[in-house]
Symmetry: C2
């Protein structure tokens, strides 16, 4: 077995996991259905009490007129941008170079919708007001992702958001929020979801990230926008006869996880501090602004892998199942703090980070 | 309340239903999960034992090299046609004027894939060999739907299928099967699924029609085709992190319903004969070739509605919850025979059709 597989194996065998909500197994759905009356009618092609009530609940939470449930954010966001492009008669949008649509969707936006993206800012930093002001090209829509996942979940100042929003309104540019992890950033901004969303014309949120559901997304905006999105949802093949397995689980875990977002955020800050206290380890951002951050190890992947395997075997605590290699030869991974951190005994945490610090001191820093 | 709503209400209040498998409620999913171990791992973006095993099972059933699970047939079929068009470098396909892609998908094939359809045959009949031979335009792919749902689930002779298949292979035209209801036609053709599919280059089947699942579809073909379909599945937003709620239910009801297809077919023929014995009622086709057919009433919708409401109240047996108005002023609806027909006492059946016949004699035939 190579180091990568040894790490996966060692992680699997640990008793405690530092990040996440727990295993993605079928129990997640069984727990939900245990609470649902079997006589509840299915939704039928986007209609029915079960989907309409959840859509209304999410519209209220997001402070938007209406909301539509989608099987995926990929589908919801392509459609949002398509609607705004069609409205303006201009197939051009702007987003971050590490936007989900740019790097995780096999070019769906271009291949299916023939929309051309303008990439704003650099791969290592957030979109700032100047990036928007200095754009040379006319666009129909600007997409902002909060937090910006691929750079560790960073966030702009709230004032920057307000300024970008004002500028876009003035210039007739629609502003779309990739809010896959919107609930996770509210403790930092100290704002309600509706307050943040009021800066945007349309917003998408996900139910399997911080919320811990199975899959599914909500797209919200004004009624004309969401009605058009339903037509595109059918065209994409997303208007399933029944979406209720995702709806009931989204609703269940939304209610369960929402009150815990402050706790996840606090735990993320505590955990990041512990990583930063270790030799040759740092987090990005240094102080998290949500429940997520990236952990950077100043060492080569294979060496860090063997350090982690030893650590897991000695302590029974798993930090990560994978490492990504960076161009400079160091390595890193993503942490999303969820329910599992709170189950970890304090003395275990102390032991893990003492050992990690010692072990990291033993090899040469890149 | 108008007659239409009275019919819905009266239907709901009946004890017995003649058609279908039963209510589409959440119990459908609860029954499945009761049988599944909660520790079973979720699929993750198209990977994992739970999805791979089901795909392999379906590939074997359909006699194809590989199969891919999709959230919907709408998505699967657009993608199949897109792949065949790209392969030939020609964005033109042929299908029936009442094809699902033409009438139920908000023009997704045109709007997302810019594929132009050539409509073969008339709205009131099947595609025959001559329609294919006499096509003036070059196409990349021909789609055949078996059975042709919108005209009562009619089927061509098996020899016609073989001839169309030979011709398409000779001419380099890909042949795609809309086999949403494929299991339902096998008792009539007296063929295995794999035998029918061997005439086609690609095939889609559905899990919420005759199979009685919640949603979901399989697209099957050779490996190059299915691998490309996975890329398009991601572009469409159909590559959900977890599709298992649909996979476990599709698998469960596939195993449960497949052995009953002969029974549904026999019952459909018996039931059609009963309708045809009534005054001013006939079925299309006259003798069903699957578990489905349409029932045509030679009378105006409102009058037939009040006949049915009376019938339901007198007998406690529901025939249909809706009627469609035809251009000639008559009305009709679709019947798919499922599990419920077998629960209906024989004397009830006799009573219902005697009464229906008497009532239909009372009003003027259009």
């Amino acid at each position: 077995m190579n180091e990568t597989n040894l790490l996966i194996e060692a992680f699997k065998n640990t008793i405690y996991k530092v990040a996440g909500h727990g295993k993605r197994n079928i129990q997640i759905l069984k727990d939900v259905l245990h609470e649902v009356d079997g006589q509840t009618d299915s939704d039928v092609y986007g209609n029915g009490k079960i989907i309409e009530e959840f859509q209304a609940k999410m519209a209220a939470y997001l402070g938007k007129e209406t909301a539509v449930f989608f099987p995926s954010g990929t589908m919801a966001q392509q459609i949002a941008l398509r609607i705004w492009c069609d409205k303006k008669g201009l197939k051009k949008v702007a987003y971050h170079p590490l936007c989900h649509l740019e790097i995780h969707e096999e070019g769906g936006l271009k291949e299916l919708h023939h929309i051309e993206p303008v990439l704003l800012a650099g791969k290592d930093r957030l979109i700032e007001l100047d990036d928007v002001l200095n754009m040379n090209e006319e666009i129909a829509c600007l997409l902002l992702e909060l937090p910006q996942r691929e750079i560790g979940g960073q966030l702009p100042d709230y004032e920057t958001l307000e300024e970008i929003s004002s500028y876009c309104r003035e210039k007739g540019i629609k502003l779309h929020l990739d809010g896959a992890r919107l609930p996770e950033i509210l403790p930092y901004y100290q704002k309600s979801a509706a307050e943040v969303c009021s800066l945007f014309d349309s917003v998408y949120i996900s139910f399997y990230k911080g919320i811990g559901g199975i899959a599914g997304a909500i797209l919200a905006g004004d009624k004309a926008f969401t009605e058009e999105s339903k037509v595109w949802k059918r065209r994409h093949g997303g208007d399933l006869i029944s979406l209720y397995p995702y709806i009931v689980s989204s609703n269940y875990y939304f209610d369960e996880k929402l009150p815990k977002m402050q706790q996840y955020y606090n735990n993320a800050k505590e955990l990041a501090e512990l990583f930063n206290s270790c030799h040759a380890i740092s987090t990005m951002p240094l102080v998290p602004v949500s429940n997520m951050f990236h952990v950077h190890y100043q060492g080569p992947k294979e060496q860090v892998e063997s350090v982690l395997v030893e650590l897991y075997e000695l302590t029974g605590v798993g930090l990560t199942s994978y490492l990504r290699e960076a161009i400079d030869g160091t390595c890193n991974y993503e942490v999303s703090v969820g329910d599992q951190y709170a189950t970890l005994p304090k003395e275990k945490v102390k032991q893990v980070f003492q050992l990690l610090d010692e072990k990291m001191k033993r090899f040469n820093i890149i």
